[in-house]
């Protein structure tokens, strides 16, 4: 276990270092940030001042060393556009993104498991076939286009739900959240459903496969023979055994939800990290892009690590090992 931990940490360190080099140098070559920072009417002295202030007159590798020094001190550079530390901007928006991803995760479970169970128990029924066909469609639908259609139907045509922003937020332990106010909940509904759609399909298929497989098993037959009620068989015996793969996959997919929130946040103008990233890419706001990528890579390494460790804890048949050893 300790060897696994150490090797994983070293590997993670290497990845972050490689990432920061690639991204920093790459982003520096793309465009000239001076054009964004300085208004076109500014005179030469003003231009020179901005270039000096942001260290843009130094060679790229020196800028990178400066950047590394900043990283070591928890300072990932200042945003050109907002004039604030990049890390602060990202951390400010992180709760909104995490909240959206969590809401989507809950939706995937609440909608996906009952549908999958229903279809798995009666695989021949017409409704079950419709559910399974729908889940294939859910895999193929492009997320962003579904988002647009949701806005069109529920916000423009029917006018039931708001389509942009986060709504009123309540503050809990210093973190603001939309999930505790009615207005906020109304705002979170559409984007969360949009983000959840793919995961709902996934959960439906997993639950369906699990239920079909489990209902052939001896313990279910035995429970039936014992004369247990259908509700108890499904709710206790079947569900428990289906949950293991579902929980594992959902854990793995949480990171995916965070990444895909980039799309959903842009459509619904949700003020999270993903929207910040897209805005920053479009405005060539380098420090924010670099900081976002480093933060998200760290988050991913952490999530992957936790899932691996949890997996081995939940299922003793899985041994932690490294392919290289």
């Amino acid at each position: 276990m300790t060897a696994f931990l150490i090797r994983r940490l070293m590997q993670a360190g290497l990845v972050v270092a490689a990432m920061s080099v690639i991204v920093f140098f790459g982003v520096n070559i793309v465009g000239d940030p001076v054009d964004i920072l300085v208004s076109p009417e500014a005179d030469q002295a003003e231009r020179a001042r901005v270039i000096r202030d942001f260290g843009l007159d130094q060679p790229v590798w020196q800028q990178y060393l400066l950047f590394l020094k900043g990283v070591a001190q928890g300072d990932l550079g200042r945003s050109f556009v907002h004039g604030e530390p990049a890390l602060k901007l990202i951390l400010e928006r992180m709760p909104a993104t995490v909240e959206l991803a969590l809401a989507a995760l809950v939706m995937a479970v609440v909608i996906g498991i009952p549908l999958g169970l229903y279809a798995g128990i009666r695989p021949a029924g017409r409704v079950s076939k419709a559910i399974m066909a729908g889940s294939i469609l859910g895999f193929s639908l492009p997320t962003f286009w579904v988002g647009l259609m949701l806005i069109m139907v529920f916000a423009v045509d029917l006018g039931w739900l708001p389509s942009t922003g986060r709504g009123a937020t309540a503050s809990v332990l210093g973190i603001s959240t939309s999930l505790l106010t009615a207005d906020g909940l109304a705002h979170v509904l559409l984007p969360a459903f949009n983000l959840a759609l793919l995961k709902i399909s996934l959960v439906v298929r997993l639950t369906y496969a699990g239920a079909r497989e489990a209902s052939q098993q001896d313990y279910i037959k035995f429970a039936r023979a014992k004369g247990l009620s259908e509700r108890r068989i499904v709710g206790v015996h079947l569900l428990k055994n289906i949950m293991i793969p579902v929980v594992t996959v959902l854990g793995l997919e949480f990171g995916n939800l965070l990444a895909f929130s980039v799309v959903t946040e842009t459509i619904f103008a949700w003020p999270g990290m993903g929207k910040l990233l897209i805005d920053s890419i479009l405005l060539l706001d380098r420090p924010v892009v670099v900081a976002y990528l480093i933060v998200i890579v760290l988050a991913f390494l952490l999530i992957n690590f936790v899932v691996d460790a949890l997996y081995s804890a939940l299922d003793p048949r899985v041994r932690l090992r490294d392919a290289g050893s």
Binding site: V30, I136, F139, P142, L148, L277, I281, A323, G324
Partner: protein, 324 residues
């Protein structure tokens, strides 16, 4: 046993039947029995699923329309001279000032939406197929190399593959696009970089299995060069899973390109793929002009669904374990 009966239903007889049948047919001269080449057998089995047959037909139609774009559209959306600003944002079915009917309406620039979709489909398919082929070539060579070389080479290649697959494709693609900037070749590069790992893993997995088989041993016994054994003997036997991964990944590539373009970091406005068209319609959505985003989205959806259905059926037919 079940396999035989399933094939009989489709009018395709198993091989043992065919031999005797052919012998008799030679004598009778009438009632021509179709020659059962592996390809025909494969096609017949593929078409057993009606959904897959329809999907294949739709896909062929889409490709044909995209290739023949200039001949099947009333307007060239790139020819700015033929556009009329008075035609912009017309509802489906409106008459263009040039005389033809805009069956799907027009967008904010006065482009006939149907023509724009056909040309956009052309770009989307081209980008998807180009990146799919490139990623397959790269992934295939690295995967084969890893399987054949083994040892340290294999460990390094597979570690890189694992690492890349642990990050979601959209994130890696966004990262690369942020670094590389806009442009067709940059998008293709980003898509290839995202997808090669899937091919590499697939090829390595099946090459490792094939390597231990007797025909490879026989080829080694004949002292054939390793390159020849890899490319002429092992690779052809790794093709079935590779084809399946290829179709599914091409659909992914098309969806990913559309997503990036929608976010404004993909194809440039001068090369409007379906994603760009949908993004253009976004601003008109809130005023109720749904068609500018709706129809390109339907085209994208139909493309992706039909590729996925074909890929699904290929998996069923090519994987002997899933045979009934």
């Amino acid at each position: 046993m079940t396999e035989v009966s399933a094939r009989d239903v489709a009018g395709v007889r198993p091989l043992a039947h065919t031999l005797t049948q052919n012998g008799e047919v030679g004598g009778e001269g009438s009632d021509p029995v179709p020659i059962e080449t592996p390809l025909r057998l494969f096609l017949a089995e593929f078409l057993e699923s009606r959904a897959a047959a329809v999907a294949l037909a739709v896909l062929a139609l889409l490709v044909a329309v995209a290739v023949a774009a200039p001949w099947v559209t009333p307007q060239n959306p790139y020819d700015l001279g033929s556009l009329d600003i008075l035609d912009s944002r017309q509802a489906p079915g409106a008459k263009a000032s040039a005389g033809f009917t805009m069956i799907l309406g027009s967008d904010g620039l006065g482009r006939d939406l149907y023509s724009a979709i056909v040309y956009g489909l052309r770009i989307s398919l081209l980008v998807g197929i180009m990146s799919g082929v490139l990623a397959m070539l790269i992934g295939m060579s690295t995967g084969l190399l890893a399987a054949y070389a083994g040892g340290r080479t294999e460990a390094v290649v597979m570690r890189v593959v694992d690492l890349q697959l642990s990050f979601p494709a959209i994130l890696v693609a966004l990262m690369l696009v942020a670094v590389l900037g806009k442009g067709v070749e940059k998008i293709v590069l980003a898509l290839v970089a995202v997808q090669w790992a899937y091919y590499a893993r697939t090829v390595r997995a099946s090459a490792l299995v094939e390597r231990r088989k007797e025909y490879v041993e026989a080829a080694r016994g004949l002292a054939l060069s390793p390159a020849r054994i890899m490319l002429r003997h092992i690779l052809p036997n790794c093709m079935p899973p590779l084809i399946v991964v290829g179709t599914v990944q091409t659909a992914h590539a098309i969806a990913l390109e559309a997503t990036l373009s929608f976010l404004g970091v993909g194809m440039p406005p001068t090369e409007p793929s379906l994603g760009v068209l949908i993004a253009n319609g976004f601003e008109y959505m809130l005023s109720g002009r749904y068609w500018i985003s709706f129809f390109p989205g339907i085209a994208l959806l139909v493309t992706i669904v039909s590729i996925n259905l074909v890929g699904d059926r290929l998996r069923e037919v090519l994987n002997p374990r899933l045979r009934r």
